[in-house]
Amino acid sequence: MNALELSHLKVMLGEKTVLDDLSFTLAQGQIAALLGPSGCGKTTLLRSIAGLIRPSEGQIRFGKQLVSFSSVHLPPHKRKIGYVPQEGALFPHLNIMENIAFGIDRTIFTKDQIRQTTKEMLALTGMEGFGHRMPHQLSGGQQTRVALARALAIKPSIVLMDEPFAALDAELRTELRTDVINLLRSQNTTAILVTHDREEGLVSADVIALMREGKIVQSGTPEDVYSSPISPALAISTGDALILQASERADGSTDYILNPIKSSSQSITQGHIVIRPEEIKLNRTISASSINGLITKIDYYGHDAMVSIDIAKEHLQVRIPGPFDFTVGEQVALEHVGPLRFFANK
């Protein structure tokens, strides 16, 4: 059973088409990361799912329920969506308890029940003892926790988070992200996380959806999307990638700088090959048959390093795990150990 199903969604803002023929599904309990450059429509997609924008074409289903299709439009307050916009948008006039309790239906639950749920949410998000503070007295990370608690308190069918960690520093970001993902998983909550941090998407989600100009152009598991990009450009959106000139022979062999094929009379297809920097191994055993290059620079990151290497006129970047003992100015042999991803020129 899909918790969320979008099909052929089209959204116009004024005269501008922001989402165009967008389709996507998400199973119950799955977490999706929406990756894409600024302005590609990520926020608009979230707001359409929340019902804050009405699509002009296509349909949206929550489970079996059709919430948006031509004349059908379930208003946002009937969708039970946990929406966490950028910067959290806490209500500045309410304290933390009141913020969290805000969406709990007062006509259904008693005061005690509401208080109980609020306390649970405070505990769940690690914010015990902050209930009586006002939003402006909290740090950015704490505000994000409260915004999430407020969204979860209504037991939403889907949680939508718009770059919730964008404003935080690296350490806090990792910690909070881990907490939030664990929390969502423990509640078996279906969620969509908008981010433009590639690693954040890969590490948190079950499904990665890559967006370009109002469309989801590729989606799949993180491993899938990372290792099998459908175009060189999309390879870059999930991680560093080398895009090298290449040509494919009729016999299936590929000619590129790390695998030069000498003479050939076969018909060839010109194109590019995509290599991840960690798919190239370096070693010191240089021979006449090996592909050799000169180390021109080493960017040291601690756990690994990015080594810049010049081969002939090409300039490659290779990621090597630490510890290592290569130095700048050294000759090294290069070996490509990863899959061949050839993309023919159009």
């Binding site: 803002l13 019902g51 804050l52 208003p75 946002p76 969406g103 006002m134």
Partner: protein
């Protein structure tokens, strides 16, 4: 009254160097002088009132007439505040949230009544309906002329509420009405209360409309006592009643503000408002605005124009030009003086909040509660002892500045508070002394807001009547005094050209203040979805 206590989260760089210390001392001295100037009317009234023996004061206060007038005033203020609040908040919310046709332009007619002085308003309606008079008529006129205060204040409040909060509230299961009462109203009620305070003070101190409509309020009583018998002590005693009444309002407003959300802004990613496209809302709000425009703008303008053109008496254009020039120049000088006087207190309030700064601010705010009649009375008396200054236009301009100083201070301190504190620090580390920081960094950033405040003083001063009547040099006529001296409705034709020019001249700054182009944060949403 927006007694802006800016979010002084940051202190002015600590006064380490001698230039900074000198700056601080200078600022405090300047603020002290301004606060002392604002106290002049109070001190005068106190001295005057104490001329009378206590028994006479209590007899004056307790006589039936006084109580009657007090009741009338209270009733009038209550009616006007309730009506303007209801209509003003509805109109402003409609303009802000609903996809109305020409919504940006629709703001203009809703604030245009600010350009029409209440006495001109009254003239036009009396010209239309000769029997137009009495309490209900006064409520009608004063409500129409003061609604813009509520609309402007509410709009300012609404624009400060981030759209993303509304979206979150909607996603948490609230419909539009619940979103308004639980998210928006708590955050704007401080602004709305400030608008209501302005309406209350305006109504209390209005002289023109009520006296033309034969409604005796405290202001009319004071003016009559002063004019008829020159019994200034009695006038002073009644003035105190009026002041006490006004102070009650100021404190009421402060109490509401204290309980309402603090202006503490949680950093939010600003989201545009998506406009509501419900047809019944679009039609009803547009209808309300149209009706309001017809009775508060079109009818007065129509009457003024038709009287102007049907005027059988030849218009004395030299006189008209002279009065126009006099009005503009005195009001402009008054606005300039107010600007200068409000600079020190604005700077002080935008920095570290001190007790002294707070007290000075309160004094100036309460000074705003003083009606023109009272300030006029005080300055006539003080001025007559000043020799050469008495009966000069400069004294009149100074009276305007004193009367409307609070308007200038409010916009000054809120604009200055908006200057990011980091900017001041950076300027200081780049080697600028405090004065250069003000000149090169703070002033340019805060200028637009301060400009609006100054324009507001200018606009109000042009329309001011009671203080002008008392303080103008003999033979000096402004547009307002010319309109007034036509005296009765029978000679309204003679006053029409002056009224028309005054309204047209005042319409320009009003237009500038309404800033229809200012709201660029909303866009038309395709969603027709709302409450179902």
């Amino acid at each position: 009254m927006v007694t802006t206590t800016p979010n002084a989260t940051h202190n002015w760089p600590a006064a380490h160097t001698s230039s900074q210390r000198a700056w601080r001392v200078g600022l405090n001295v300047a603020v002290g002088v301004v606060a002392a100037l604002s106290l002049i009317p109070f001190i005068y009234l106190l001295v005057r009132a104490s001329d009378k023996p206590f028994s006479e004061i209590s007899a004056l206060l307790l006589r039936t007439k006084t109580l009657e007038v007090l009741t009338t005033t209270a009733l009038l203020v209550t009616c006007v505040v309730v009506i303007t609040l209801t209509l003003g908040v509805a109109i402003a919310s409609g303009l802000h949230f609903v996809a109305l046709p020409f919504r940006r332009l629709l703001i203009i007619p809703t604030v245009l009544p600010l350009a029409i002085p209440s006495y001109v308003f009254t003239y036009t309606w009396v010209a239309l309906i000769p029997s137009f008079s009495g309490f209900a008529a006064a409520v009608f006129i004063l409500s129409l002329s003061t609604i813009p205060y509520i609309i402007l204040a509410t709009l300012a409040g609404l624009r400060s509420v981030d759209g993303s909060q509304i979206e979150v509230a909607r996603s948490l299961g609230l419909n539009y009405r619940q979103t308004f009462t639980r998210v928006i109203w708590p955050q704007i009620k401080g602004h709305v209360s400030a608008g209501a305070l302005l309406v209350g003070l305006y109504t209390m101190s209005d002289f023109g409309a009520v006296s033309l409509l034969n409604v005796e309020t405290l202001t009319v009583t004071i003016q009559n006592m002063y004019r008829a018998s020159y019994d200034r002590s009695a006038a002073a005693v009644i003035s105190f009643v009026l002041i006490a009444f006004s102070i009650l309002f100021v404190f009421g407003d402060e109490a509401i503000k204290r309980r309402s959300a603090k202006g503490q802004i949680v950093k939010t990613f600003s989201v545009k408002n998506s406009l509501i496209r419900k047809n019944y809302l679009r039609v009803s709000i547009t209808a309300v605005i149209l009706i309001f425009t017809i009775i508060a703008v079109i009818i007065p303008f129509y009457v003024l124009f038709s009287r102007f053109f049907s005027n059988p008496v030849p218009i004395d254009y030299t006189d008209l030009a002279r009065a126009t020039f006099a009005t503009i120049s005195v009001a402009a000088v008054g606005a300039l003086i107010a600007l200068l006087l409000s600079a020190p207190i604005g700077l002080l309030l935008s920095g570290k909040m001190t007790k002294f700064g707070q007290i000075s601010n309160k004094i100036i705010v309460i000074g705003h509660a003083l009606p023109g009649v009272v300030v006029g009375l005080a300055l006539v008396s003080v001025g007559s002892k000043l020799g050469p200054l008495y009966q000069t236009t400069l004294l009149l301009a100074f009276a305007y500045a004193l009367l409307f100083l609070a308007k200038s201070v409010i916009s000054m301190s809120s604009s200055l508070a908006r200057v990011p504190s980091g900017v001041k620090d950076v300027a200081a580390t780049l080697g600028m002394n405090p004065w250069s920081v003000v000149r090169k960094v703070i002033a340019p950033i805060a200028a637009p807001g301060i400009g609006v405040g100054t324009i507001l003083v200018f606009l109000t001063a042009m329309k001011e009547l009671p203080a002008t009547l008392m303080l103008r040099p003999t033979g000096f006529e402004t547009l307002a005094t010319n309109i007034w001296s036509a005296g009765s409705i029978n000679r309204f034709n003679e006053a029409a050209p002056y009224a028309l020019i005054l309204v047209l001249v005042a319409a320009i700054p009003t237009f500038l203040i309404s800033r229809p182009d200012h709201d660029d944060r909303a866009y038309i949403d395709n969603s027709a979805g709302g409450d179902k």
